[in-house]
Amino acid sequence: MDKLASLLHTTPAIAWMVLKVVIVFAGVMSLAAIFTWVERRGSAMIQDRIGPNRAALFGKIRIIGLAQILADGIKMFFKEDLIPAAANRGLFFLAPFLAFVPALLGFAVIPFGKSFVSGGTTYHLSVLDPGNGMGMLYPLAIGGMAVYGVLVAAWSSNNKWSILGGMRSSAAMVSYEIGMSLAVVSIFMTAGGYDPAEIIKAQGHQPWTWNIVRQPLGFIVFFTCMFAETNRLPFDFAEGESEIVAGFNTEFGSMKYSLMALAEYSHMMTASALIATLYFGGWQVPFVKDPSVLLSVACFVVKLVFFAWVFVWIRWTVPRFRYDQLMKLGWKRMLPLSMVNLVFHAWRMSQGH
């Protein structure tokens, strides 16, 4: 690291920071891109079809259709960039970025591997080092910003379907945020800290001491709320293909649509990372007390990919909810459940276990 830094005329700290940012964001973005393909292959698998397996590099190397991602990207780039005549042009341009940036930013605080010491300095494997004072409040705050992408996209395209989608999804996101925050608060309480590093450390390396076993109720609430937050089926009220055309991104085409789609998948990655960190021990390897750095990173990536797959799996298995059912579930089931979870853990802590 020192050698590389001196070659680039920077300090090791800056070089490490740049490296981390590139690794995290490039990693999340490419995972998101791969999952656009995994989603189609997965849906095909579940529905007993074949799915996209034809695209091939140079017409020869087929690699089970993975080149589909590249083909889609090229197609999106060369499509005509249409802007509706009555749209608010500035906001119409801004909307895809407002959707995409928060989806990526949320990942910044999550540790994706064990910290290690090299040459007397400790290197942390998360873009924001532990002890930054924001901790898990940061992904909650950034997650709240995701609403603006949908709202601005919906309003700026000046289309009735869009505005319906935007309204429904913003109402759903705000309602589910409350249940989600309460579930996270009970984790803060039992872990005795709100930094992701502390939460991971408090969970230990045995699978039966992870928060999924300690707080199964909280997990159910958090997991459900993540589907509402990412606007994925069964809660895809922003899009609602069967009722409001394509909802908030009806008017978006070409690269703008592509960014919107990538934002959804990046959001899915961040959500899976949050689930893994809060309830499944983060980078901890089951049954291994002191894993090597590479093993811990690999374990985190496996957990991340697994939960991202669960998102795909559920989308193609569970039927959609109706809007009033979604609201009823959010306010009358999830909120009381997470309150019960919070009070129960507070009571248990007051009894000193």
């Binding site: 906001l91 004072g133 997650g143 603006y148 709202l151 601005v152 309204m167 705000v174």
Partner: protein, 164 residues
Amino acid sequence: MFITFALITLLGALGMLLQKNVIVAGLFMVAAFFGVAGLFVLLANPVAAALQIIVYTGAIMVLVLFVIMMLNSHEEEKAQSSRPVQRWVSVALVAALAFGAVKLVLASPGLKALAQSGAATPEAMTLQKVGVTLFADHLLGFEVAGLLLLAAMIGAVALTKRNL
């Protein structure tokens, strides 16, 4: 860093005032909130920054924009007649408020502590400290605020849902 965040805050606030379109004005206000959150981080209070974004931009502004979108008119209405007296009274009031605020800040003990060399730098705020302060030092105020919000919520429900 301070200049950047201060500029974001001021330009956001100015944009909000000058923008005729209510939704764009709301988005400018979000930018101003972000600037304020950045200033909180510079003041070694990341918790306040996070709460600022969660509460104001993540919840309150979303609901405000939501209500504006429900209404059909997105343009500010023209005033029927110019009201010079009210305008000057409001300018005078704002000036008095600003003067009082600046005076309060300049007279605060924190500022005097900054001038002393070798004074202990304040520690960064954490969520634990916020909790202890709320439940130990300001318990009464905290509970009263909670009760007030609950009353407001029940009032809103009672007003909108006549037959429960």
